[in-house]
């Protein structure tokens, strides 16, 4: 009986005008979106390779004098995420590189600077199409699942037979969804084939598994919207009423809720920008450096003020030995103070930012669309997980470079109490060709699922609750 209903629903959809229309839309837009994204990705990879090559050349031509002069700037580039062909996510807004200097870290420009104003609406990539176009089509497909049969009277005819209502509902959802899913799956495969033909690294590492997760997430997302539409349809007596409700709900979930959540979070927990924090850290580092220089000058004057001439240059003199010990103490204490105070700024910023982001995420997850976008962006390496990993990689690289490069040259600035400054250098040898490379640890699927359990829960909620609500409405529906 259930199979009969599924088959009927599928056949009815296939015979209607909307099936070929949707098939055409999916078959044109999805492969086209993937093709355009792949071209864009290939261009970004070429740019990345070129910039990395230039940066490596620039680094190998550095000398110890450049380090002493404080003019060294090492760039760490982020490699474009291959699966950004499915969703750009933060790909356009993340800095393409970070600059590592003795003064600290500076973010480079993002690739969004090259994009047109229209890209503010979102790139027409696969996730955009699923989120904005296919979700609406899923709702429209579902709009008349129950209401259409009520309106046409065919529901009376069906229910006059020995068919359980739950079999009717589940059969109609299964058949209706299959009619939506089949062209979608076909278009996805065509898009994938296109990527393979274009030489996209589809079969690298965990890429196939991630592509499969993208496909399954999209299928679940569309099913969630289909069941949502079914719920509305089961609650409406007319398809037109269902359509109006569907458009309102779609607008809320797609356009309002995701944006509103970021705005609300920013209002509830205002956070300074990264540039402001970076500036504050630079100022603090400068101020601490000056304090240290003053302390060095004061101690130097105290030790060598009444010492015999030449004591400062005589490594065996008791004053020089004392000075070396005091200087090491000052530098150790300055380093600790700097680490602690700059770390405190970073930690405060991170906490504030995390609190704001947590609130935004939690609010946005009311929308299945946001849950889907967050999950897929993380799978594709263009989401919040990647942003966090990028930030962590930048901090780790800064520490590594500090040990391998910047700390090899010690600049000893002294400001004397009686006026005047003096600058001394001590340097260890540096192999500029063997400087550590900037890398970001890729996120595994386990990392993605761990970071996205709320998104998964939200999708599950939107899968189960609307169906349960539709079930209750339909079981209790009085046929008149």
């Amino acid at each position: 009986m259930w199979k009969t209903i599924v088959k009927k629903e599928l056949l009815e959809n296939i015979l209607s005008y909307r099936f070929p229309l949707f098939g055409l839309i999916a078959m044109v837009l999805i492969p086209l979106g993937m093709y355009v994204s792949q071209l864009d990705y290939a261009k970004r990879v070429r740019d990345y390779d070129e910039q990395v090559r230039l940066a490596a050349e620039s680094a190998s031509s550095l000398s110890i004098q450049d380090v002493m002069a404080g003019t060294v700037s090492i760039k760490g580039f982020r490699r474009p995420a291959p699966l950004s062909v499915y969703t750009r996510g933060f790909e356009g807004t993340l800095p393409r590189y970070y600059e590592f200097t003795q003064e600290g870290i500076k973010p480079g420009e993002s690739s969004s600077g090259e994009e047109s104003i229209l890209s503010v609406q979102g790139k027409v990539d696969f996730v955009f199409l699923v989120q904005m176009v296919l979700s609406l089509i899923a709702l429209l497909f579902a709009s008349d699942v129950i209401a259409g049969e009520k309106e046409a009277g065919t529901l009376r005819a069906m229910l006059s037979n020995r068919v359980p209502r739950d079999a009717i509902l589940s059969g109609k959802v299964a058949g209706g969804y299959a009619a939506l899913w089949a062209p979608f799956a076909g278009a996805f495969l065509v898009g994938l084939l296109l990527l393979v033909l274009r030489g996209f690294p589809v079969f690298g590492a965990d890429t196939p598994a991630k592509i499969l997760v993208v496909f399954l997430s999209s299928s679940v997302f569309l099913l969630a919207y289909f069941t949502l539409g079914t719920m509305i349809s089961a609650s409406s007596s007319k398809t037109r009423t269902a359509l109006v409700a569907i458009l309102l709900i779609w607008t809320f979930f797609q356009l309002i809720m995701p944006k509103l959540s970021d705005m609300v979070a920013a209002l509830v927990y205002p956070v300074r920008t990264e540039t402001q924090v970076s500036l504050e850290k630079s100022l603090l580092a400068g101020s601490l450096g000056m304090d240290t220089a003053r302390e060095r000058g004061r101690q130097y004057d105290l030790i060598f003020g009444s010492a015999p001439k030449g004591a400062a240059d005589d490594e065996a003199s008791p004053e020089r030995k004392r000075w070396d010990a005091v200087k090491a103490g000052i530098e150790q204490s300055a380093k600790e103070r700097k680490t602690q105070q700059l770390g405190a700024i970073d930690e405060t910023y991170r906490q504030q930012k995390r609190r704001q982001q947590d609130l935004a995420v939690n609010l946005s997850l009311i929308s299945p669309s946001a849950a889907f976008a967050r999950l897929v962006a993380d799978v594709c390496g263009t989401g919040e997980l990647e942003r966090t990993k990028y930030g962590e990689a930048v901090q780790a690289h800064a520490r590594t470079l500090d040990g391998a490069l910047f700390s090899k040259v010690k600049r000893t600035l002294m400001i004397h109490a009686g006026g005047g400054t003096s600058l001394g250098f001590s340097a260890e040898s540096i192999d500029f060709k063997a400087l550590p490379q900037f890398t970001i640890a890729p996120s595994s699927l386990a990392d993605v699922f761990k970071a996205n359990w709320k998104s998964l829960l939200s999708l599950l909620f939107w899968l189960v609750v609307p169906f349960a609500a539709a079930y209750v409405r339909f079981i209790n529906y009085d046929v008149r």
């Binding site: 065919t154 009376r156 229910l159 009085d478 008149r480």
Partner: protein, 247 residues
């Protein structure tokens, strides 16, 4: 006929809707195998509500419906095995052909092993034109749809048939053809309950005729009794009479 077990039986059946309207008030009726029972009445008299209750489309407020001895409220799915339904505007899937519609509803009715020819045979029986068998239903006239609706009822081969104003909007020829088919079904032993506004055809086909007013069965006559009475006059007299006091 009265010695037989009724296929359709309404036992003290009442229905009050959520808005407080009493649509059906303590209805008692029985339809025996091979009997046609016609329910007459104005709009809102309770005819369709009676059919809806037999089909368990709505739950009764009090009373019980039985189909083939099965309590419809207690075991609706089992009860529906024994009943076929034809509505006023036969509702079909417009994008399906006549045969596809017949196939779908036949399967819902439990007939899963029918061949193409079986469908054609039934459609021929109701005089549906051959060329229409594999045409999409959306272009069918009301008469053609009604014939297909009856085909669906015939193919289910249930002992009871419920018809909700089946001749409304049919031209005289189509209505006559329809009554001929009803007569055939009656001769096959089906119990037929038909709600209608059509007094003339009710008198022609009905073994018993009941008049409903404001949810009550206010009159019932057998075919024999109606030979000596004017059904039109009785009907009009009841319709003109004072409203019933319904609490």
């Amino acid at each position: 006929m009265t010695d037989l077990q009724p296929i359709l039986k309404a036992d003290d059946l009442s229905k009050r809707y959520e808005d407080g309207i009493l649509a059906l008030d303590h209805l008692n009726l029985q339809v025996q195998p091979g009997e046609v029972y016609c329910l007459l009445g104005a709009n809102g008299a309770g005819k369709t509500t009676t059919i809806n209750l037999f089909l368990n489309f709505i739950p009764p407020t009090t009373g019980t419906c039985f189909i083939n001895g099965i309590d419809v409220t207690k075991d609706p799915l089992e009860a529906k095995k024994y009943v076929a339904f034809v509505s006023e505007n036969v509702m079909l899937y417009g994008n399906f052909t006549a045969r596809q519609n017949l196939d779908f509803f036949a399967k819902l009715g439990g007939k899963t092993a029918l061949a193409k020819n079986d469908y054609y045979q039934v459609m021929r029986r109701v005089s549906l034109q051959e060329k229409a068998f594999d045409q999409r239903v959306k272009n069918f006239s009301k008469g053609m749809r009604q014939k297909l609706g009856i085909s669906i009822a015939i193919i289910k081969d249930a002992p009871a048939v419920l018809l909700d104003e089946p001749t409304a909007g049919l031209d005289p020829k189509a209505a006559t053809e329809f009554l001929e088919i009803m007569a055939e079904l009656k001769n096959e032993g089906k119990a037929i309950l038909m709600s209608t506004h059509d007094i003339f055809r009710a008198k022609e086909i009905g073994d018993r005729v009941g008049i409903m007013k404001e949810g009550r069965l206010v009159m019932e006559r057998t075919r024999q009794e109606l030979q000596y009475e004017d059904l039109v006059k009785i009907y009009i007299d009841y319709m003109k009479s004072e409203p019933l006091s319904i609490s």
